[in-house]
C-alpha cells in the first residue's frame, strides 16, 4: 500500500540478488529508475527437457508489494502445462490468498508478504521440472504432458532451442 515501502523492499531484494542469487537464476530491474518492472532469466532445470535452455521472463510488481504478489510472464515461447499461451505463469505462490481462481490451492502455498523474488523464481524453476496437472493453464500442454510424454519432451526441447535463438 505504501509506494515508498515497496520501493525500499524491492531495492533490498535487488541488492541481495546482486550479491548472491541462487544457481540458475538471474533477476533485476529492467531500468534501475523503475524498480517495479523486472526481468529475469531462468535456466532450465537439469534432467528435464528444459535442460540447456535459458528462459527470459518479466516480473511486474504492484504498488502495494509485498502485500500483493507480482505477475510473472515469460517473454519467450513456452510450452508448459502451467504457463498460459501468452507466457503468464500460473503458480500458487503468485496468487494472493484472497483470490483463488482455480479453487484448489492450499492457502499455505500462496503468496504472503514474506515471500520474495528469489522464492518465486525457485518455485518457477521447480514448476518447470514438475508441472502441476491439477491446474492446467495451457490445456494442450497439459494433455500432451499427461498422455504422450515423448511428444511433450520433443516440444519442450524445441521451445528451449527457440529461447536460445537456435532456430
Amino acid at each position: 500500500m505504501s509506494f515508498v515501502a515497496a520501493n525500499k523492499r524491492l531495492l533490498k531484494e535487488y541488492k541481495a540478488l546482486l550479491k548472491e542469487s541462487p544457481e540458475g537464476i538471474a533477476a533485476g530491474p529492467i531500468d534501475e529508475s523503475n524498480l517495479f518492472e523486472w526481468e529475469c532469466l531462468i535456466q532450465g532445470p537439469e534432467e528435464t527437457p528444459f535442460e540447456g535452455g535459458v528462459f527470459p521472463a518479466t516480473l511486474s510488481f504492484p504498488k502495494d508489494y509485498p502485500l500483493n504478489p507480482p505477475k510473472m510472464k515469460f517473454t519467450c515461447e513456452m510450452f508448459h502445462p502451467n504457463v498460459y499461451k501468452d507466457g503468464t505463469v500460473c503458480i500458487s505462490i503468485l496468487h494472493s490468498p484472497g483470490d483463488d481462481p482455480n479453487q484448489y490451492e492450499d492457502a499455505s502455498e500462496r503468496w504472503s508478504p514474506i515471500q520474495s523474488v528469489e522464492k518465486i523464481l525457485i518455485s518457477v524453476m521447480s514448476m518447470l521440472a514438475e508441472p502441476n496437472d491439477e491446474s492446467g493453464a495451457n490445456i494442450d500442454a497439459s494433455k500432451i504432458w499427461r498422455d504422450d510424454r515423448k511428444e511433450y519432451e520433443k516440444r519442450v526441447r524445441a521451445c528451449a532451442r527457440k529461447a536460445l535463438g537456435l532456430f
Binding site: 500500500m1 505504501s2 509506494f3 515508498v4 515501502a5 525500499k8 523492499r9 531495492l11 533490498k12 531484494e13 535487488y14 541488492k15 541481495a16 546482486l18 550479491k19 548472491e20 534501475e32 529508475s33 517495479f36 518492472e37 511486474s60 510488481f61 504492484p62 504498488k63 502495494d64 509485498p66 502485500l67 500483493n68 505477475k71 490468498p97 484472497g98 492457502a107 499455505s108 504472503s112 508478504p113 514474506i114
Partner: protein, 570 residues
Amino acid sequence: MSQPYLSAHSQRIIDVTDPSDWNTTRLPLLGSVDSALRCQICKDYYHTPVMTGCCHTFCSECIRRSLVREQKCPVCRATAQENQLRKNGAAQELVAAFVAARPLLMEVAKESVEERRFSTRGEEGGTEDGGEDDGYPGFREEGGRKRRRGRRRIEGGGAPDGPMESAGGGRITRGSSGRVGSQPSSQPSSQNQVICLDDDDGDEDYKPPPSSGMVACPICSQYMKEKRVDSHIESGCPKESPASPRKRLRGGESSFFGSSKSQSGYTPAFPPASKRVDTKPGAPYPNPANPLDLHPLPKIAFNMMKESALRSKLQELGIPSYGSKRTLQDRYNEWLTLWNANVDSVTPKSKKELLKQLSSWDAINRVPVVEKTKVAGWTDQGWSESNKSHYDELIAKARTPRVKPEPVKEGGEEEEEAEAEETDDITSISSAQMDGACAAPTTLPNSNIIQTTVLNDKVPLNNVTQSFQPDFHQPYLDQAFTTALHSTPSPPPPFQAPPTYLPYSHVNVSEMFVANPLPPTTVLAGAESDTDRLAIVEEDSSLIGLYGKRKYEEMEIGCKKGGGSTSGGL
C-alpha cells in the same frame, strides 16, 4: 565502495544494508544475526517491533498494514488480529544496539579481512570473538586498557568469569550488561564468580562480602554475620548497621529497571513485564517515553456506516474526506495503520508528519489501490482516443433523448414496479435495452422508439424496443397511475401484465452518470431525477420507499407531458 562512475541508483543500492553484507567479511555468521533483527515484510531492521499472538515479530506498521488486508500471520498463517499485537521490547533494544554497533562491526570485520590478506601470521583463534568484541564502542572507550584480544588470549577468554570491564558509563544497552563484574583481574576468581551471579549495575564502591562468616538474610538479602541472622529476622529485617557490609539487593527482587535508570541516564524503552499485562486497544500501553499519551484508533465496520457518517468521521480526525466511499475506507485504514503504529512507537511522530505520510499515500492512490502496474504501451489518453467515437455516442445518447420520453417511460415503469417485482426480467431487459441503445444510437433515437412502440402495441417480447413500450393506451394512463399510487397489484384488464422494467440496472446507471455526467442545462427534470435515483439505488436500504415516493412525484409531471406525447402518437 564509492566508485565515481556509479549512477545515483547504483549508489543507492550500495547504501542499502542487507544481511548479505557480512558474507564477504571475516564474520559471515553475523549475517544471520543481522537477518534475525529484520522484519520479514519490509526486510529492514525492526521499526517499533510488535509480536503477533503466534509469537512472530514484525514492524508495527508492516504487520498492521498486512492485517488490514488479511487477518493472518504472514509467516505461519495463523489467525492474527490487530488487538493481539504486543510490543516486543527486547527486539527493539537488540535492534538499537546492533544498528549502533553495525558500522564499527563492519569496519572491523572488513579490516580484519584485509589484515589477514596482508599479514603472514594466521589469527584463526581470534576470528569470532576478537573482531566482534572490539566492535562494541562501549568496550573500546574503557580507559587505560590494552587491546582486549591480547588479554583474552592470556586469560582464556570465554570462561564465564572472564574479567571484562563494564563500567556503567560505557554501557549502551541491557544487552551488554550480561558481561558483568567490575573488579579488576587481581581479584581471586572465586569472588568473581560470586559477582557474576549478581545483577551488577556498576556500583564502583561495592565490595563483595568477605568470606569470613558473612551470610545473606534469606528475606531481605542483607549481609551480616551468620550469628546475627536469627535475631535480624525476628526483629523484622531492620537495616543493618553501617558497620556491616553495605546493603545489597539480590536476585529477582532487585529492580533492574530501577537501578539501570540511575546510571548513565538510560531509561528502558519498555516498562517491566509486570506492568505490561493489560494492553487492550482502549487501554494503551503505559509508555513513559510517549509523552503525548496517544490512544489507538478503533477499526470501523464500514458496512455498518453510511458514506456521510464516514466522511464526517474522517473530518473529525482531521484527515482529508474527499473521494468515494471506497477511497474513504482505504484512507481510514491507512490512517489507522500509521496512527496505531505511531502509538506503539517509543518516539512518536507528530500528527503533522503522519499527515504528510498520508498525503503521499493519497497521491499514489488516486488510482484504485488494487491496480497493478500497467501493461506496457497503455496510456489513458490512447485509450480515450481509440474509443472516442464510442464515448461520443454515449454522450450524445445521454444528452438528447432524455427530456421528452422520460415521463412516458416513468409512467410505464412505475406501473410495472407497483404491479410486479420480477427482478430477473428487470435486469435482463434493461441491460438489453442499454446494449441496443449503445449499439445503434443514431439510427434509433429514443423519441422514435417511443412513438413506434406506442403505435404497435403487440410488439414481440424479444424486441429490444419492447422495454420502452408504455403498454397502455391513453385512457388507461390515469388508471395506471392510480394503481401505482395505491400499490394494488391488479393490472388494467385489457392488457397482460407488462414486462417489468426498470430503466437501468445498478451498473448501467452508474456507468451512464459517472462516465458521462450530463450538463445540467441540457437535461431538465430527467437528469435531476436520475441523479437522485442513482443515489437512491446506491443506498440499497429504503429503496422501495424513497423510490416509490419519487416516482409518484415524477408521475404527476409525467402524466401531463407523457400524455401529450402519447396522444400525439395515437
